[in-house]
């Protein structure tokens, strides 16, 4: 187990280097960011030259990349064009997005799995058909439609919530945005759980458990559900990474100043330091989530062993 974890961690190094290099190059291809800083006019060449030197943009790309990576390893993510340290931007935005992700994942787990178990045990009944229909609708409606609709209904028409999230972004305010963010994944989790459960219901170990005379809830929770959760856990694990980086739409709709907001602004302003810095952290989050998911397999299914 320990050796497995070490091996996986070592594998992360090339993935990490490759991913950051790709992002670095992509942002670089967009061209010279200094031109956008002077509004609808040409920056005077002297100031533009100094800004470029200050941000290291006058050097060849490979040199920029090496310097950048060197700095990142010492914890220095550089400075955004407005003079703020990127680490400062991270410190304000990552906690917000993390809270949003936690809310979304909780929705996925609690509602998604519950619905999945309910429908999986009652295949073909009205409950099953109803939930399946609802998930179909949720999956086919884009997030921004759900978001804007809920915002308008709950925020403006009925006045239950504030349409936008304050800068504190406390958990209470993030319930609706979290639900919107989770909606599509939630539907998938429901369907995954349902199918997986329905399949495993006919397997030998369930029959054995029932034959042993175990109470029904114990059969379902300890034997059936636990084994059926493997695909669901894979999905949710990968989803954490997606939700953290892909919340741009939801964050925009509800004016949440999280990772999506910073990334969006970084891209618009072609701010290499911000974009690469944030993506680097997101890549790390993704890699770690994947590792944790793989380790969870062994916990869920005793047949899986890591050496």
């Amino acid at each position: 187990m320990g050796r497995y974890v070490v091996r996986r961690l070592l594998q992360m190094v090339p993935v990490f280097a490759g991913a950051t290099l790709l992002i670095f190059l992509m942002v670089n291809v967009m061209g010279d960011p200094v031109a956008g800083l002077c509004g609808e006019r040409q920056c005077d060449p002297a100031t533009a030259g100094r800004l470029k030197r200050e941000f290291g943009l006058d050097r060849p790309v490979w040199q920029q990349y090496l310097t950048y990576m060197g700095n990142v390893l010492t914890g220095d993510f550089g400075t955004a064009f407005n003079g703020q340290e990127v680490t400062e931007l991270m410190a304000t935005s990552f906690p917000v997005t993390l809270r949003l992700t936690v809310v979304a994942i909780l929705f996925e787990i609690v509602i998604g799995i519950t619905l999945g178990v309910l429908t999986g045990l009652r295949r073909g009944r009205p409950v099953d058909t109803g939930v399946l229909l609802v998930t179909l609708v949720v999956i086919s409606v884009p997030t921004f439609v759900t978001g804007l609709l809920l915002q308008l209904l709950l925020g403006v028409e009925w006045g239950w919530i504030k349409p936008s999230v304050s800068t504190d972004a406390a958990f209470g305010e993030l319930i609706v945005p979290g639900l919107v963010l989770a909606s599509v994944s939630l539907a998938y989790v429901t369907r995954l759980t349902r199918t997986s459960l329905a399949e495993n219901r006919r397997s030998d170990y369930v029959r054995t458990a029932v034959a042993k005379g175990l109470p029904r809830h114990r059969v379902i929770l300890r034997h059936l559900l636990r084994n059926s959760l493997i695909p669901v856990v894979t999905f949710i694990g990968a989803d954490i990474g997606f939700l953290m980086g892909g919340a741009i739409v939801t964050e925009r709709i509800f004016n949440i100043h999280g990772v999506g907001y910073q990334l969006y602004q970084g891209i618009l302003r072609q701010n290499t330091q911000t974009v690469v810095g944030f993506v680097t952290v997101l890549v790390l989050v993704f890699l770690l989530c994947n590792l944790i998911v793989d380790l969870l397999y062994a916990v869920l299914d005793p047949r899986i062993r890591y050496a």
């Binding site: 931007l89 349409p163 925009r252 004016n255």
Partner: protein, 541 residues
């Protein structure tokens, strides 16, 4: 914020239990101390007067600074603010006297030195100030800001001299009669010593001499401004303060306004213009601003610089149905342009209706004739380049192209050419990579006809994106700047504008309005000619 709200409810509940106090809305009534909230965008540059060149940062600086001059929020005319006198006999040497009794909100006196230090800082190359070129007319700029980007050989402008506690002299490189009228621009604001002594602390919490002071500033989230009670000027704030909240999407801000969580939105999103009248009624403002949109041409491209192309450009101009586009796409928030300046200048400031004349009026037959006479479109097609990331440019570019295609009777005559980001777009312009017409917008820095012509069309000027160059135009601008009489200067500028028309250097499209919407709590809301709300006049409650 949340804590405060809860506390207030608790107090209200208690008060209601004891007496029948009205706590409706949770606001402090109309005693002039109530604070309003307003939408804001995160400024891309640090908040320094000589480093802010866009409207979001400019908005704040306008609230916390007062300069020598101030543009009347209604008429746009430059009036003395901190300047007691600005005297000159030759339009080149100016003696400026600063009014007595002005202080910064930290108590420091505003003196001649506050201005001279600030201007020297702005002009210094090593300070990386984006607006440094505003000081280029002052003598010694070539040494504090060498054009080749080399090391600056002087830290101070030789043209600035402090001659007394409240007086200083300015010597310009050349005659520039309207120089005093440019001094209302924020780049010329005075700065306290705190700015130089502890720069980082100042940036975290800017200190100025305007009617508001910064109470707290959370970068990228919120800026809280409160009325400065000891403000010595006459334009004291009529409200307790303004909370500027950063919104990523103007649609969210608009929704917040409808839900009653935001008081003022100064950018009504294009998608809401259809509903805004029914949503807000007379709480919607659509007022002219000093912004003009044009189509510029790459005059460095031989396809567009050869003889006869001025006819093609005029033909394209006549093929654009401005009236229809401003009505259907912009819902009246733009007005068809008839010249290259802006109506907010007023006739005294140099605006006059119609120097563009027929060339700006839609006429399909004339358009076809002119394009044919000029030798046809280069390559048979024009592609209008624009940046697709902001400002819903796609909609109007497509509409303009449809109009051109329709007028010229050719489905392929015009097509849009979107560029992903503004920075990339600017790069292509700087690198002279444009091959056809492209979007050019201009928001005035100060309400003078000079500001609409010189930076945009003078040879090698900073915003002359099309690199148009015409000796007759340059000569007239030089003469106008050298005139001591403002009326005669305006006359010369108008002549220069006529030269612009002869060559159709750029196609005027429309004048842009400023738009804003506000909540029922507010009254006396107005936009100034820079499309910024006049915050200090707003009454709450």
């Amino acid at each position: 914020m949340r804590g405060a709200t809860h506390a207030r409810w608790a107090v209200c509940a208690l008060a209601a239990a004891l007496t029948a106090t009205a706590c409706g809305g949770g606001h402090a009534g109309g005693d002039g101390d109530a604070v309003l909230s307003s939408s804001w965008g995160d400024p891309p540059n640090p908040l320094e007067p000589a480093n802010t060149n866009e409207v979001q940062g400019g908005k704040v600086l306008d609230m916390i600074f007062r300069g020598l001059k101030r543009y009347d929020p209604r008429t746009g005319v430059a009036e003395d603010m901190l300047a007691e006198r600005i005297e000159t006999s030759d339009s080149r040497n100016f003696t400026i006297t600063v009014k007595d009794g002005w202080t910064f909100s930290n108590g420091e006196q505003v003196t001649a030195r506050s201005f001279v230090d600030a201007w020297n800082y702005g002009a210094g190359l090593k300070n990386n100030q984006r607006n440094a070129y505003f000081f280029e007319y002052i003598e010694g700029y070539d040494r504090t800001h060498p054009a080749d980007g080399g090391k600056q050989t002087a830290d101070t402008l030789s043209g600035l001299r402090v001659t007394g506690p409240r007086t200083f002299t300015v010597r310009l490189r050349q005659k520039f009669s309207s120089f005093p009228d440019t001094l209302g621009y924020t780049a010329f604001a005075p700065l306290p010593r705190a700015f130089f002594d502890d720069h980082d602390a100042w940036l975290r919490k800017p200190v100025g001499n305007g009617p508001y002071r910064v109470e707290s500033y959370t970068r990228g989230a919120q800026l809280s401004l409160r009325r400065w009670d000891a403000y010595p000027g006459e334009d004291r704030a009529r409200n307790g303060g303004v909370d500027l909240r950063v919104y990523t999407d103007s649609n969210t801000a608009y929704t917040d306004l409808l839900a009653g969580h935001l008081d003022l939105v100064d950018d009504v999103p294009a998608s809401q213009l259809v509903n805004v009248r029914s949503d807000l009624g007379d709480r919607y403002i659509n007022a002219p601003a000093g912004i003009i949109q044009t189509l510029a041409f790459p005059h460095y491209d031989k396809n567009w610089s050869r003889d006869g192309m001025e006819k093609v450009r005029a033909g394209l101009s006549r093929a654009i149905n401005r009236t229809q586009i401003t009505r259907t796409i912009f819902h009246g928030t733009r007005t068809p342009a008839l010249d290259w300046t802006s109506p907010v200048l007023g006739t005294k400031g140099g605006y006059r209706a119609g120097p563009c004349g027929d060339a700006c009026v839609y006429d399909a037959a004339a358009a076809r004739r002119l394009v044919k006479e000029g030798g046809g479109l280069p390559g048979g097609q024009v592609r209008i380049t624009y940046n697709a990331d902001t400002g819903s440019h796609k909609e109007w570019v497509d509409a303009v192209c449809n109009s051109i295609n329709h007028a010229l009777g050719d489905d392929k005559a015009c097509a849009g050419n979107p560029i992903g980001t503004f920075a990339d777009y600017r790069n292509r312009i700087t690198d002279r990579k444009m091959t056809g017409p492209f979007r050019a917008g201009w928001q005035m820095d100060y309400p003078l006809i000079q500001n609409f012509l010189q930076p945009l069309y003078y040879t090698d000027a900073s915003s002359n994106d099309g690199k148009w160059s015409n000796p007759a135009f340059d000569k007239l601008v030089d003469e106008a700047n050298a005139e001591t009489d403002p009326a005669r200067a305006v006359e010369k500028f108008r002549k220069a504008e006529d030269v612009l028309r002869e060559d159709m250097a750029a196609i005027p499209l429309w004048y842009q309005n400023g738009s804003a919407g506000y909540s029922e709590r507010l009254s006396d809301v107005a936009l100034n000619p820079f499309s910024v709300p006049v915050y200090d006049q707003i009454k709450v409650g």
